[in-house]
């Protein structure tokens, strides 16, 4: 499955965390059926950081909703940690959504606590855990702020902390930095890598920024225009930890170039 064109993939240890098998999604509109995803097939080994890029409207977001268990595929299936996914499984899969979907009437701390509260975790325990995570994203001093009192970057940090709070094995991120400016985006990307290294999560990261994809990921899946298909898989052989200097290297440029060419030819 993981036959990668430009580099040999390292042998995955154990079964993949996520296996997407021949996924097809068709939805009905007033003008008839539209095929959004066509025979999507890939695996994500445990602990890997995999990016999904593609033109807008390629069904990236539908794919992510399915990976979260929020949308049922028309055909094919998704296997998460060896069990077919039929409904959200928060202990396995956490989601960091595109726009800040933080609850505006809850403080930063309460938002990070929310997934634990839903699960019935004891108050003191979830408070400790949420504080620890806010600390990790550098927002401990802002724990009592409401979302509208935070900047866009800070809100997204809270979202990331919330994604980690339920301690899922797999983290799905749907263009989490899309609404942020360039500097914030880079900083947050670095912070995310730091947290990722420390917590050993499997990450599936949807983005439309090619630089971001190359900088963050182990492997980048390139999707085509609707109906979305996977048209290229690019392994990113850059070593970790990633540094800003790498962006100026020839390898980085080539990888970015290659992804761009794949997208353009669709």
């Amino acid at each position: 499955m993981a036959a990668v064109a430009n580099a040999p993939a390292p042998a995955p240890a154990g079964p993949p965390d996520v296996a997407v098998e021949h996924l097809t999604h068709v939805y009905e509109t007033a003008n008839g059926a539209v095929k959004a995803l066509d025979d999507i097939d890939f695996e994500v080994p445990q602990g890997k950081f995999v990016g999904i890029v593609g033109p807008s409207g390629c069904g990236k977001s539908s794919l992510l909703l399915m990976l979260a268990g929020l949308l049922q595929p028309s055909e094919g299936r998704i296997v998460v940690r060896e069990h077919a996914l039929t409904a959200p499984r928060p202990a396995d899969v956490g989601v960091v959504f595109q726009e800040a979907s933080l609850l505006p009437w809850k403080t930063a701390l309460e938002n990070v606590e929310f997934p634990l509260k839903l699960r019935g975790t004891a108050r003191a325990e979830r408070r400790d855990r949420a504080l620890e995570l806010l600390e990790l994203v550098g927002l401990a001093d802002f724990r009592d702020r409401l979302p509208h009192e935070l900047s866009g970057g800070m809100r997204q940090r809270v979202s990331i902390a919330r994604g980690f709070s339920q301690d899922p094995k797999i983290l799905l991120m749907d263009e989490p930095f899309a609404a942020l400016d360039e500097q914030t985006r880079l900083t947050l990307g670095d912070e995310l890598l730091k947290i990722w290294t420390r917590h050993q999560k499997t990450v599936i990261f949807v983005t439309h920024s090619l630089t971001e994809a190359v900088y963050l990921c182990d492997e980048v899946l390139v999707m085509s225009h609707r109906p979305g298909r996977i048209i290229d898989r690019v392994t990113i052989p850059l070593e970790r930890p990633r540094t800003y200097e790498m962006m100026a290297t020839e390898t980085f440029g080539h990888l970015r170039e290659r992804i761009w060419r794949s997208i353009r030819t669709t």
């Binding site: 909703l65 979260a68 268990g69 929020l70 959200p88 499984r89 928060p90 202990a91 899969v93 956490g94 989601v95 959504f97 726009e99 979907s101 609850l103 505006p104 009437w105 809850k106 929310f114 997934p115 509260k117 839903l118 699960r119 550098g138 927002l139 001093d141 802002f142 702020r145 409401l146 509208h148 009192e149 935070l150 900047s151 970057g153 800070m154 339920q166 500097q183 914030t184 900083t187 947050l188 912070e191």
Partner: protein, 271 residues
Amino acid sequence: MPATAVSPSAASAPRIRRGPWLPPRALGLLTLAALLLAWEVLPRLELVPPVLVAPLSTVLESGVASAGTFAEAMGVTMVEIAFALVFAYGVGGILGLVLGSVKPLRGAVLPLVSSIYAVPFIVAYPLLTAWIGIGMESKVIFAGIYGMFPMILATAAGVRTVDPAFVRAARSMGATRAQILFQVLVPAAFPSILSGLRIAGSLVTIGVVVAEMLASTAGLGFLITQYRSMFQTPEVYFGIILVLCLTGFLDFLIGCVERKAAAWRPRKELI
């Protein structure tokens, strides 16, 4: 912390005060004082006939003179309003939540509810008294149902317009239906629910007092009608003042809830 974080104080921008010549509160009090003064002076100077408008001092005097009668009537009216409010808020709120969050019901029932809301129910009140008499029950039922409709509509509208991103996020965290309803939909819809509380509150008050005026043997509405038919103008006005006090008090209570609940909303949306 990297440079992307804004400092805590930067979140609340300084507000520029472009003041009118008087602060709004003082202006409001001044207007009220002028009105009260006019109320006293104009009838005394016979610029308006005293039989139509009694001077304020006479109104208050006659109120004090019949304090017992008024207190009793006010008690009856307050009890009726309280029961009707419980009915309107409780039943209206629950129906609103159900209609707003269950898609098939929403399309089928909500339009019906809003067209029924447009019917002036008061015309049916005499019928209601024929069925259940002219006691307190008829007032409670009439005003309760009257107030229930805006409560249903406001709650349903609030629930329906909640940002689906909130619901999606909660579902991805494994929230159950009940958790989504009570921990996401209700708090998110609260601003709209509050306006339902407000409208239903005033409709219930109107409903009770008007029903008392139409057919009753007790309550402020009954008292006002009775005094009016005997041309005891000062007493009529005192009754009206008491009704105003009741609505003012109700409004104050709702305002307290509102201030508490609206703290999370950005200021610009409050205007």
